[in-house]
């Protein structure tokens, strides 16, 4: 056994003395994690780039010929007392709450606004038509004599979706609020008329009052609101919200440990090619001990790699990995499965080059289906099933459970599955190595 440990110690030392190996095993996952963590931040500090928005407000107000103002129709007709919808849209887009998201400027005409988007000076142009308020407020409160429909044009940079989407949502919300006021006015008139009141002046006043009441309520009553929170795993466990960097680093760690495992695993082939392995076989040390030493080396290399990455994540990115016990179990499990995968992908290759090519393809495929790179994307039910064809998918699922506050009971099944996969891989690797070297 001591001889196996000596073989293992030599291989571990060899790997950790190679700067290239260290870069691939430690620097690469940490740098990629740092970059993605910086891109998406964590929690309150995150803000996307403000969308450069040009507004062209051509709205004439509710009363034809009147400027866009709150007293659009002085004669008490349709639209009396209602705010100019164009001005309301401008005010909403320029509100202090949206200052970080919308960088608002105005333009005198649609042509120059569109030209600004075409030239890349603006991301989106909002063209408010002259008859907007007329279309919203100008109809009869009785529901007849509908005004012609109006169209607000949103002209956006085709390569941008998020910022223009926010602008469009704000515009739509203002319009729908105005339409809500109209709905309140019309329903008030309809209900009153149904009870026999048919004086047009009184009904008009009633409509104005209902619309005004609606607009007041809309400002003061936020209604239903959403409170975003991460999922908790165990009802008794603490609810944690791991930051983006922690979630990315786990994916990267699980992926790069495969490459970490493949480096010492390939040493079997390297030594075979260099003749040092056959020389070892001529000594009194049994072949099983020599191969056992190689297995131990692969496991220890990956275990050390995982521990270093977890500590680095804690120190560099402020990651909360979860309770110590389950984290330790998962770290060992991860090292076992990575070692077994590293060995099995090397075991049926004839040369180090072939092993590198084959293992790279297998690792990248496993990383893809498991969610090492794309844990950030959602594929719904299909993906959640697909990722379970790989032991890495199970491992990532277990890490998710722990990071979101789970305990041992939440990782039992994934750990058992991962160990079962590892057992099969070790058996396969041993079969191929024995066939070649026995």
């Amino acid at each position: 056994m001591l001889r196996a440990l000596l073989v293992a110690a030599k291989d571990v030392r060899h790997v950790y003395r190679s700067r290239a190996s260290l870069v691939l095993m430690l620097v690469a996952p940490l740098l990629v994690t740092g970059a993605i963590g910086a891109a998406f931040g964590s929690g309150e500090g995150f803000e996307i780039e403000a969308t450069r928005t040009v507004v062209v407000d051509q709205d004439r107000g509710a009363g034809a010929g009147h400027p866009a103002s709150t007293d659009a129709s002085a004669d008490g007709g349709a639209g009396a007392g209602f705010p100019a919808a164009g001005a309301a849209i401008r005010a909403a887009l320029g509100s202090p709450e949206l200052a970080d998201l919308v960088d608002l400027t105005t333009s005198p005409d649609p042509q120059s606004a569109r030209a600004a988007v075409d030239a890349g000076v603006a991301d989106v142009a909002v063209v408010i038509p002259p008859d907007l308020s007329e279309a919203l407020w100008g109809g009869s409160p009785f529901g007849d004599g509908e005004p012609g429909p109006a169209t607000i044009q949103i002209y956006k940079d085709a390569s941008r979706t998020v910022g223009p989407g926010i602008v469009a949502a704000v515009v739509e919300q203002v319009v729908r609020t105005c339409q809500g006021a109209v709905a309140a006015a019309r329903s008030a008139v309809a209900a009153t008329a149904a009870h026999g009141l048919d004086d047009p002046a009184a009904l008009g006043a009633l409509a104005s009052a209902a619309a005004s009441d609606f607009l007041t309520r809309a400002q003061s009553d936020p209604g239903l609101s959403l409170r975003a929170r991460p999922p908790s795993v165990s009802t008794t466990g603490p609810e944690r919200a791991p930051n983006v960097a922690a979630q990315v680093l786990i994916g990267m760690m699980v992926f790069f440990t495969l490459f970490g495992a493949s480096v010492p695993a390939r040493s079997v082939l390297d030594e075979h090619r260099a003749g040092t392995l056959p020389r070892l076989f001529t000594t009194a040390t049994p072949r099983s001990l020599i191969l056992g030493g190689k297995y131990i080396a692969v496991f220890v290399v990956v275990l050390l790699q995982s521990i270093i990455l977890l500590i680095a994540g804690l120190l560099l990115y402020g990651a909360h990995w979860g309770a110590f016990g389950p984290v330790a179990v998962l770290t060992v499990c991860g090292a076992v499965v990575a070692a077994s995968l590293g060995l099995v992908t090397v075991s049926f290759a004839k040369t180090p080059g072939q092993a590198g090519a084959v293992s790279s393809v297998i690792f990248v495929f496993l990383g893809l289906v498991s969610g090492s790179f794309t844990g950030t994307a959602d594929l719904g039910q299909v993906y959640s099933v697909l990722r379970r064809i790989s032991p890495l998918g199970w491992l990532l699922e277990a890490w998710d459970n722990i990071m979101f506050g789970g305990s041992f009971s939440d990782i039992v099944l994934p750990v058992l599955v991962v160990l079962a996969f590892s057992l099969v891989f070790f058996a396969l690797a041993t079969f191929f190595f024995r066939r070649r070297y026995a």
Partner: protein
């Protein structure tokens, strides 16, 4: 000049015979492009996003809300109990979860603001789309409820009528009818020459794949240079009368050719397989692809100048490729990243290349629009190439 061609030809021959090179240059980029294209497309879909719903109130009001949410084409509602909801969100079986709390109906009747738990993983983009859809439904529902309240308030005040079931029904029908006939519509148009249909995930994954994998295509040539330096083969070239600049030009030419062919293949796969519009502006595309190839080749030459060992070159190439890809917006569009990251990313040439490729494929950019972004790339090329040539030693 013929010596340059011979050196370049030898490198290309070596690359063609190397299976590992084919793997990194062609097969893996295509696999990544397809997989990420499907995933991004699915995440950006605005229809049928699975939303787990836990109704803890079980009241008439909460059931009405559940019914309204089910009517949203953007959402596919799955009603489950709370523990199952947490698990479904965490394991990404659903895009997000919504919890209607106990006392929902009572709070609504009392006119109190009700807060619903929206359970999501912040790194799942589908969750943001689901949240927008839920907020939209809640807003519409709130709009209708407010309109009824306002109308009822005014009608009862003006006529003295009681607010009974009959009045409620009349108002509800009238409000629903008024809101169902919007007199104002939004017309969203893309600038330039917009796509005939909706953009798919491949508009991001295909150019992203080109930028992300271009450096991998150089592995064979760059590692080969290190190998030749170690064994003194480049010195033998010098002894045979080949000038150092001819060696550099030959290697560089081979790298440009390899990466250009790689890009051409990926662009063709993107256009033919997934409808990404690369070839409608051939000149702009050619300029962009050549710029990326020349940058990658200069970078590869720099790596082979700085590092002697094959293993070190492979490690540095992999890490550089990943970082340039992430920073350039090859993995995700920079518009969804933080403001400061997006600014910092534009220091890197890959961000400008991505901007050109997005401009060509999404906005119908031509040669004139790509000139300025490519100017930044060429500034990088000048610096990297000068450093590479300055540091290049045949031994």
């Amino acid at each position: 000049m013929s010596r340059v061609w011979h050196i370049a030809f030898k490198e290309l021959l070596q690359t063609r015979r190397d299976r590992l090179a084919a793997l990194f240059t062609l097969i893996l980029p295509v696999i990544f492009t397809v997989f990420l294209g499907i995933m991004i497309g699915r995440a950006n879909e605005d229809s049928g996003l699975p939303l787990a719903l836990a109704d803890r109130d079980g009241s008439e009001a909460s059931q009405t809300l559940a019914l309204t949410l089910s009517g949203s084409p953007a959402l596919a509602i799955r009603q489950i109990a709370l523990p199952g909801l947490e698990d479904a969100v965490r394991s990404r079986k659903v895009a997000a979860g919504l919890v209607i709390p106990v006392g929902y109906e009572t709070a609504l009747q009392a006119g109190q603001t009700v807060s619903l738990d929206f359970v999501c993983l912040e790194t799942v983009p589908g969750a943001q789309s689901a949240r927008q859809a839920v907020e939209s439904v809640l807003f519409e529902s709130h709009l209708s409820s407010l309109a009824i309240k306002s109308a009822a308030h005014v009608v009862t005040g003006a006529t003295g009528l009681p607010f009974d079931d009959r009045l409620d029904r009349v108002l509800r029908e009238s409000v629903t009818a008024a809101l169902a006939q919007p007199t104002v519509t939004l017309d969203v148009t893309d600038a330039g020459r917009p796509l005939p249909g909706e953009a798919s995930g491949f508009e991001q994954s295909s150019p992203g794949g080109m930028v992300n994998w271009v450096l991998f295509g150089l592995l064979t040539v760059v590692a080969g240079v290190a190998w030749e330096k170690q064994r003194g083969l480049l010195r033998r070239f010098l002894a045979a009368g080949v000038k150092q600049r001819e060696i550099v030009a030959g290697k560089l030419l081979a790298m440009v050719a390899v990466t250009f062919l790689q890009q051409l293949l990926l662009a063709t796969v993107g256009q033919v397989g997934f409808g990404v519009r690369y070839f409608h502006a051939p000149l702009a595309l050619l300029a962009t692809m050549l710029s990326l190839s020349i940058f990658a080749a200069s970078f590869g030459l720099l790596l082979s100048s700085l590092f002697r060992r094959e293993q070190a070159i492979i490690a540095v190439t992999i890490i550089s490729a990943q970082l340039l890809g992430v920073m350039g917006g090859a993995w995700f569009p920079l518009e969804v990243a933080s403001h400061s990251f997006s600014r910092a990313a534009h220091f890197f040439p890959t961000a400008w290349i991505m901007e050109c490729l997005h401009g060509i494929t999404l906005s119908g950019w031509g040669m004139t629009q790509v000139l300025v972004p490519l100017g930044y790339v060429w500034a990088w090329i000048a610096v990297v190439f000068s450093l590479a040539v300055w540091r290049f030693r045949p031994d």
